[in-house]
Structure formats: C-alpha cells, structure tokens
Amino acid sequence: MDSLNASIVTLILLLPIAGAIAVTLLPDRGKTPCWTALITTLVTFGFTLHLPAYFAMGASGFQFEINRPWIENPAIFYHVGVDGLSLWLVVLTGLLAPVGVLASWRAIHERRKVYYSLFLVQQTAMFGVFVSLDLFLYYGFWELSLVPMAILISMYGRRNGPKAAVKFFLFTFIPSAPLLVAILWLYARTGSFDFATLQGAIASGSLPTGALRWSALAFLAAFAVKVPVFPLHGWLADTFSEAPVALAMVVAGKLGLYSMLRFHVGLFPAQARALAPLLIALGAIGILYGACLALAQRDFWRLVAFAAVSHFGLIVLGIYGLTTTGWNGAIYQILNQGVFESAIFVLLGALHLRYSTSQIGHYGGLAGRLPQTATLFVIASLAMIGLPMLNGFIGEFLVLSSTFTGVSRAWAVWGTVGVILSAAYMLWLVQRIFYGTESELVVSRPATDLGFAESIAVWPLAVLMLVMGLAPWLWMRAIEAGPNPLEWRNALALQPVAPHGALQVSATAEGPR
C-alpha cells in the first residue's frame, strides 16, 4: 500500500467527483443514486484512512505531497499535501460523508441525482480546501464549496430555501472577493501562489507592511464570516433551519477555522498577532453570546445554530491565544465539534422528518417512544456540553486552561461561564423534547424509532465521542507535529501575555513555579 502514498491525495480528491459523474450517468431508479453515493463516500473514507495509517506521526511539515506545475502563466501549481493540522480534518470529512448520505437516505426523496451529485462535488471541494498548498488552487476549492451548498439549500430548503440560500451565498461570497484580491496581490508581489513561498516572503519582511495588513484582514474577513465568528453569524441560523441535514453539518466551522489556522495565522503571523486581542475578545464574547441566544430560542435548528456560534467562539479563543496547548485544543475541538454536531444534526433531522416541525414547544415525552433517539441525543448533548470522558471536554479544557494560564485570566473566566450555560440550553432541549408528558403532536403522530440507516450513521459517532474523550493522544500525536504557534510568537520576539499579578502568592518573591 506504500505505493499509494504518492497519489493518495489526488485519489481522495477525484473519487467524489467520479462518484458524482456516476450518479449523473446512472439511472435515477429507486435507491441507485443513494447507493452510488454511499459506496463512493465509503471508499473515499477508506482512502482517507490511508493517511493516518501512513502518516509519520512525529514529523512536522507536509507529507503525501504532490507538486506539479499546472498552468505556466500565471504560475499555478497542483500542490497538495497533508500535515498534522489538516490530517484529521481530511479524515473527518471522509467520515462525515457517508454519515451525510445515510442521513439523507430517507429525508431526500426527490431529484436524488441532483442532490447526490452536488453533495459529492461538495465533498471534493472540502477535501480540496484542506489539502491545497497553492493559494490559487485553494481559492478555487473554497469557492467551489460554496456553490453546491447554496444550490442545495435553495432546492431542498424546508420552508424558505431560496431566501436562506441567497443569504448564505451573499454572506460568504462577498467576503470572498477581497480574499481573491488579496491572493492576487500576493501573487503580483511574489510571482507565486505557493503556500511555503508566500510564507517565506511574508516572513522575510520584504513586502510592504501596510498592504500586508490589509491583505491579512481580507483573508481573516472571509474566514471569519465562513466560520462564523461573532458578530458575523447572521447567515447561520437561517442556513441551519433550511439546509438538508447532510449539508448543515458541514457548512459551518471546520473550513473557516482551518483556513484561519493555515492561511491567516499561518501566513500572516505578525498581523494575526496584532489582531489577536480583538479576536480573543470576539471569541470569548461569542461563547456567551451564542449560549445566551441558544437559551432564548424556541426552534431547535436555531438553538443549535447559536450553540455552534458559542463553540466556534471557544475555538477562535484557542486559536488566537497562540499557546501550544490552546492551539492543539482548538484543533481538537474542531474535530470534536464536527463529530457531536453531526450527531445532533442527524438526530434532529430524524425528528423533523417524523414530526415536520422544529418548534421545541410542540415536542414532549419522546423518550418512551423513541428510546434510541433519546439515548443518542443525550450522549451527543453531553459531549457537546463538555462532560469529561467525552470528547468535548478535552478541547474545552485545553483551550480554557491555556487561556487562563497563558493569555488572559479574565477572558478565560468569562468563557468558562459558557460551561454553565451550555448545560442549561442543551439539557433544556433534551428535557423539552424527550422528558415530561407526551405532547399532542407526539400522541397524534405515531412514529418509529431510528431506522437502520440513521442508527448506523450515529452510533459510530457516539463511540467516537467516547474514544476521543478517553484517548486524545491518538489524534494529538499528529496534531502536535503540525504548525506550532509558539514558533511564530517567539520569532516575532513577542512574549506571551504575562498573567495578571492579582492572584500571586504573597509570601514569596516569585510565587510557585
């Protein structure tokens, strides 16, 4: 299998496209498109597993690299590769694809060919974003990831798809334009789209700082909207309400957060460092803002959307704290978030399918009728609210503790309040849907528990939550070998923000440690 190493990334990129073509060519009879998509995504997932299997865990830098000239002028290279930062994101994308297909199994029953082919194109786009090391290539995939999403939201929206799709499209397309401008400016100055070359050029200090600041800002803006970071989350709630489950679970979070790590902090460390206090504040505010708004929601998609804003706030806090622990925790939390949020989405989608409403108030007492749904939902909620032994806790603790010890005590304490609030809104949701007396709706519409496709989609995620909570080292080995923010911080001759002296031990000159 070693021979695959040279072409594995290309294979991962091409397989979903091939699947999409197969879906289009094969007749739309019965479940053919579903099966085609499922097989494609499963095989692709299998290929993504090749990466961690052959990844040299301790080694930093890119592996499975391919760098071939594609277009001579402008100098665009087909340059792809995987490092500790992107490795698990690729695998996660691979895992969530079959989960998405299974979640769509029952939910999508018209125009399956369109749905599944676009879904598969979307997969390629996401893989492309994670593996591209040529900025032009990256930008192409980035844009490509927006198009199928917008079309699918528009076509398969629950009530008002087109409106949500347009909102999504505008929110994410408009900031992409400055991103493109910034990329082209960098190319104009350096003659290269290559990530490493650009990184070197920017670090060398030969580029004008003012313009660099603007281009860093353009990068950041595009990513911050895509994540979304508070207060740029205007599109999220509508998108979550309308998007098919399989797309809602990937639309937010990891693409934008990864891009922040790689192309904002990674390319522009000095500029990122300068903006870090602002982003730390926005992240921390977002934690509580999202949590408070989640408390106020009466619609479960909107609740989950604001919960997501809260989680993204935590990750942003971890990224821009620029400590090793917090950075690793943030990367880990991106993975965690992908896992538990997807499980929540599939389960809520199953409820929506059965009861045709997302109004929480219409539900009640479902635990007796849908025990499996209830069990899985509780597990995913617990992972989400950071119960120790499940995965959410690890990321949360790493980010908050490192923020406290190395960045800002005040913001860490502020963010930790989110621990209380996340339990408040998630368990309230559990309570309203699953506990108490059975509501009118529940009594009037007898429904069956999770079907085979749904349960086989969620159970692996539930197991993963436990494993990731107990053995984070399995993932951390690779993550740690990825880029280390301390290098940049030290290279910039910037000291970590000293902890405030208010709570020092009084009787000693230097205090413990």
Partner: protein
C-alpha cells in the same frame, strides 16, 4: 500474587455492568439484569476489601500507602499539560471506597426489591452502576482532573436517576435543576483547576502537596483563591449554602437513589474533596474560616426548614443538607478526620433513614406525606426499629454512631479559637433542632393512630428489610471506629493523610462536659417533639396558626427558590430574549445586513426563477461558473495585476 491491588478493576467493573445493562438490558430477563447489576458492585467491593485487608496486614503483601497505579498511556499530554490516568489508594480513599462500594452494594440489593415492578428496571440499574463507576473514579483519582471526571460524572448519574421516571415532569425539572446548580459549582472547580495549573503547573495532588511542603512560607494569596474556588465546587456538590437548592428537589427520584446518591455517597464528595486538598486549605486561614461558616450556617439553616416539612423525604433531604453542614464545619476547623468520621456514620444512618422511609412509602403505596401516615409501628415492626436506631443515631444519642462523630466535630470547633465557640454554639443549637425534627418524623410516621386509609399495605420484601437491619447495626455500632484515645481509631488511621493537630489530642474533662451538654440538647429536642406530637397532637397546628409569619417563611423554605428565580433565572432569560436576541441580534446585527437583504431580494427573484426550472439550468449555472474560472485563468493577469495593485499598494502601503 504480584502485589498489585488491581485498583483499575474497582471502577471498571461497575462500568462493565453499566455497559451490559445499558446496551443489552432492554432485552434481558429481570433476574439477569438484577444479577449483573449486583455482581458489579459486589466484585468491586471485593477488590476494595482485598485491598483493605492487605493494608491492614492480612494478606500476602502489605502495600505501602499511598499506593499508586498509573496507566502507562497518559490521558492528556499536549503542550504544557500532562494528565495521567492514575489511581491512588491511601487511607482516605480506602475509607471512602469501603463506604461507596459497601453501602452502594447494600442499596443495590435493596433496589432489587424496591424497583422490582418498575418499567425500565434495566435502565435504573445501568445508571446505578454508572454512578458507582464515576464515584469510584472520583475517590481514586490521583489528580484533580480525574477527580473532576468523577465529579461531573456522578452529577450526570444523579441527573439520569432523578429523571428516571421519564414522564414525570417534576422529576425531569428536578434533574435539570440539579445538573445546572452542580454546574455552577463545577464552574468554581474549573477555575480552581486553572489556578492550580497557573500556580503549580500540575494537577497531581501529590506533586502539589510536596511543592507546598517544600515552601512552608506560601500562605494565602493565590492559595486562598484556589481554596475558595474549590469550595464553590464542593458547595455545589455537597448542597451547601448558597447552592443547596437542588438537593431537596432531587427527592423526586426513586428512594434508593436518594439513599445512595443524595445522602450516603455523592453529596459527601465535597467533603471528600476538601479533605483531599486540605494542604491547600491549611495554608489559608481565611478559606478555612469560610468553609466553617458556610458549614455552620448551612447546618442551622437547613435544620430550621426541616422543622416544618411534611414530605417524609424532604425532611430527610434537609437533614442531609444540615448534616453535610456539620461535615463542612469539621473541615473548616481543620478537624478533617472528624469530618470523615461523620461522613462515614452519616452514610450508615442516613442511608438507613432513606431506606426505611422507602419501606414506609412502599407500604403506603407511594404516599410521602407524613400527615397521612401514623401508627405504622404495628404493620412495619422491622422498619420501625430500624428507623428508631437511625433517629437515635442522627439525633446524637449515646452510644449510637452519630453521637461520636458529631461530638468529635463539635469538640474540635469548640477548641478552635474564639470564633470556634460561636461555631460550636450554632452546631449545638442545630443538634436540638435535628433531634426535634427527626422525632417529629418518627412520631408522625410510626406512632399514634393511622391518619389515612392506606390503600394496601405492601409487605416489605426480605431483600429490603435485611439491608435495613445491616445498616441499623452499623448505625448502632459504627461509632466504634472512632473509639480510642485522642484521634480515635479512624483518626489515627487517617492521620498520614490528614495530619495530626495538637488541638485534637487535647484532653481533660472538657470533652466529656460538652458531650453531656450535647446529649442533653438532643434529649430536649426529643422531649419537645414528644410533647407536641404524642401528648398533644393538636398543638403543632395551633402553634403554626399563632406564628403565621415564621411558619410561612419556613414552609416556603425562606423563599430562596423564588429569590433565585427573580434575581438570576428571569434576568438571564429576559436579557437573552429581549436584549440579545431581539435588540442585538435581530435589530442591530440583522439591521446591519439589511442592505445585503435588499440585494438578496433582487437575486432571490432570479434564483426563484431558476428554482422553478429544470436540471439543465442548474447544470448551465455550473457550466457558467466553470467557464468563468477558465476565463479567469486564461486572461493575462500578470500585466493587469500590476496596474490594478499599483493603486491598491499606494492606498494601503505606508
């Protein structure tokens, strides 16, 4: 024998039980579910017992304490953080484990009878085993983060068990409340952990202790902050002021759960945590004083509420809060072994009280209102005698278990400086109240004439009363472990962990006088209860009528729930809904993208047209996109860019 004590098995066995019953239990016959559920804690108890025997020198090897077992692979190891899965057996965790698995096992047996007819029998036992798993992790954890795992985990088990009756809304609400209030405590715990990391760079108890030992000059400051944060966590879990509000509501759960989790084990975790981290508290007289004041205030406060409750389980709940207050008082005056001693005896008699109450409720067909009971002595003789032993024990009558442990705490408080006398006095008065409300319960339930026609008296199964009898014996003779000079047996055993304090070894007749006074107080409480509830049963109603104001305040529990609702819950929800959701999110941020929305409408109209169209138009759209990209690639960009960005550069480049 390789000398290993297999500590890992202690939590793992109940976890296996949880997994078996939790995943497969629905399809298994009841006897098998019950067997799995019982075997898990029994096996776990056996491992603990083997360790205990080894420690006491009975066995092939005597391990040196503290005995540590560490998993070779760390749990978290990244950046500056290194957390092991390490389990530590020392005198303190051994005592706790014996209680947790021992009493835990007894209550499992009781539950087989008590929950026998319930739907979801398997679920109940799965949760009980899960609780034992987390509780043993909490006790064994060698670092604060592992303790936190158990800490949050027992909260989860408690949440699941309180809400066991899925369709009972009050139970679901109570479970929710318990989890959230505990989370507020956990918030404090987490900040405490962060402070520990910031100041010590480690969360391992042994390393923190040795660093402190190496620096005898470290006092107060950050250590006070750490101790106070940990105290917030402890107050949440152990239902102390101001976070006690969840425990009385937790009585909505099945009674064996109240006995095991909300009386004997989980709620004592806060006490255990303070004793476990006592080296931090020892360095901060201020934090210790706060612990003592919180404890004394809670003891008195909860006891006053307990005076007028009419639900048998609520009386017991408030008495639990009050007794936990005693333990905190003990911790606060640095009498850690006395606090643990009371924790142990309390586990016996409070479990017994709850289980006896459970037998009563079982017999009354689910009735919990004491005003509808009465005269149950004849129909439930065994329960009556067990309850009597428990009431005498909690009342602090010589020679029952509670007498010795409460006495040890009060004595230590008395010796603790001038403030200590005040603390002692509060505890002293609380002893009177305790004795009164417990005998009130006793009279109302068992003596006098039946006040309602019980639907049908269920017979109490042997599995239930036999457990009560064992606990009754422990409540009567359990004080034995505290006998002996000075610190007593238990104190001497625990001293390697808790340290020896000069005050505790003080002697003379003072302790004797104090004991006599305390017993006199308890007897006075009994006498008042006797006057009011046996001799003149109409008198309590008259008293309540003549003291309307105070009575209403007490029976409404000082309106604390209402106060919290008005000051925290409502404002939070109000601000979230009206200020944040409506004003900020919808009006401000929404308005900010209003312009976008206008454009959106325009494009929306176009998209709407596409929407109605067929496949080809989408394909066309994609093709157009692809063409645009191609065009983009093929254009002579490099020359265009130079001119374009020449401008851009000047604009930003200075």
């Amino acid at each position: 024998m390789n000398g290993s004590l297999d500590l890992l098995l202690i939590p793992v066995l109940p976890f296996a039980g949880f997994l078996l019953n939790g995943l497969l239990g629905r399809g298994l016959p009841k006897w098998l579910v019950g067997t799995i559920a019982l075997l898990a804690p029994l096996a776990s108890f056996a491992v603990v017992l083997r360790a205990a025997l080894a420690v006491w020198g009975i066995g092939s090897t005597t391990p040196a304490l503290p005995y540590v077992e560490t998993c070779p692979i760390p749990w978290i190891d990244t950046g500056t953080l290194h957390i092991d899965f390490s389990f530590v057996l020392d005198q303190l965790s051994l005592v706790m484990l014996l209680i947790v698995t021992g009493v835990g096992f007894l209550i499992h047996i009781y539950s087989v009878g008590y929950m026998g007819e319930e739907e979801g029998y398997w679920r109940f036992f799965a949760y009980l085993n899960l609780f034992l798993f987390f509780m043993t992790v909490l006790v064994l954890g060698g670092n604060a983060l592992l303790m936190f795992v158990g800490w949050e985990g027992v909260g989860l088990a408690s949440y699941l068990l309180i809400g066991f009756w899925l369709h009972k809304k009050s139970a679901a609400d109570a479970g929710y409340k318990a989890f959230i209030v505990n989370r507020i405590g956990d918030f404090g715990f987490l900040i405490g952990l962060f402070l520990l990391l910031a100041n010590f760079g480690t969360l391992t108890f042994a390393e923190i202790a040795s660093k402190l030992e190496a620096n005898p000059g470290w006092q107060g400051g950050a250590l006070t902050a750490i101790a106070l944060c940990l105290l917030v966590g402890a107050a949440g879990k152990s239902a102390q002021l101001p976070l006690y509000v969840w425990l009385p509501d937790a009585m909505e759960g099945p009674t064996p759960v109240s006995a095991l989790i909300h009386a004997a084990t989980m709620v004592t975790a806060g006490v255990y945590m303070i004793v476990r981290t006592h080296f931090l508290f020892d360095r901060s007289p201020f934090a210790l004083a706060v612990v003592a004041i919180v404890g004394a205030a809670t003891a008195l406060f909860a006891a006053t509420i307990g005076l007028v409750q009419t639900d048998i389980k609520r009386v017991l709940a408030y008495s639990t809060v009050s007794q936990l207050g005693y333990m905190f008082l003990g911790c606060g005056v640095a009498a850690y072994s006395a606090a643990i001693f009371h924790l142990v005896t309390h586990a016996f008699f409070k479990a017994l009280l709850f289980l006896s109450a459970g037998s009563v409720i079982h017999a009354m067909g689910g009735e919990q209102d004491m005003r509808k009971m009465g005269g149950l002595r004849k129909s439930l003789p065994v329960t009556f005698w067990c309850m009597t032993a428990a009431v005498l024990a909690i009342g602090g009558f010589f020679p029952f278990a509670g007498f010795f442990s409460k006495d040890a705490i009060l004595y230590a408080a008395f010796l603790h400086g001038t403030g200590g006398k005040v603390l002692w006095f509060v505890g002293f008065v609380t002893a009177l109240l305790t004795s009164f409300y417990m005998f009130r319960l006793w009279y109302l339930t068992f003596l006098g004439e039946p006040r309602s026609e019980a639907p049908h008296h269920h017979a109490t199964p042997a599995s239930m009363w036999s457990v009560c009898v064992i606990l009754a014996l422990l409540s009567i003779f359990g004080g034995w472990i505290g006998f002996g000079d000075g610190l007593g047996r238990l104190g001497a055993f625990l001293s390697p962990v808790t340290g020896i304090r000069a005050a505790e070894t003080g002697a003379g007749n003072l302790e004797l006088y104090l004991s006599i006074a305390a017993v006199a107080m308890a007897a006075l409480g009994w006498w008042i209860a006797d006057r009011l509830y046996r001799q003149r049963p109409q008198r309590p109603a008259e008293l309540a009528a003549s003291l309307v104001g105070p009575y209403r305040v007490l029976s409404n529990k000082y309106y604390v729930d209402e106060f919290y609702r008005a000051t925290f819950v409502k404002p939070l929800m109000g601000i979230s809904t009206y200020v944040l959701d409506w004003m900020v999110d919808k009006a401000l941020l929404g308005g900010g993208v209003w312009v976008l929305a206008g454009i959106a409408k325009f494009f929306g109209a176009i998209l709407q047209r596409w929407q109605s169209g067929n496949l080809r138009s989408y394909a066309g759209w994609l093709a157009a996109g692809a063409a645009a990209v191609l065009l983009f690639i093929l254009l002579p960009w490099s020359s265009l860019l130079a001119t374009w960005f020449g401008i851009h550069l000047n604009w930003g480049g200075h």
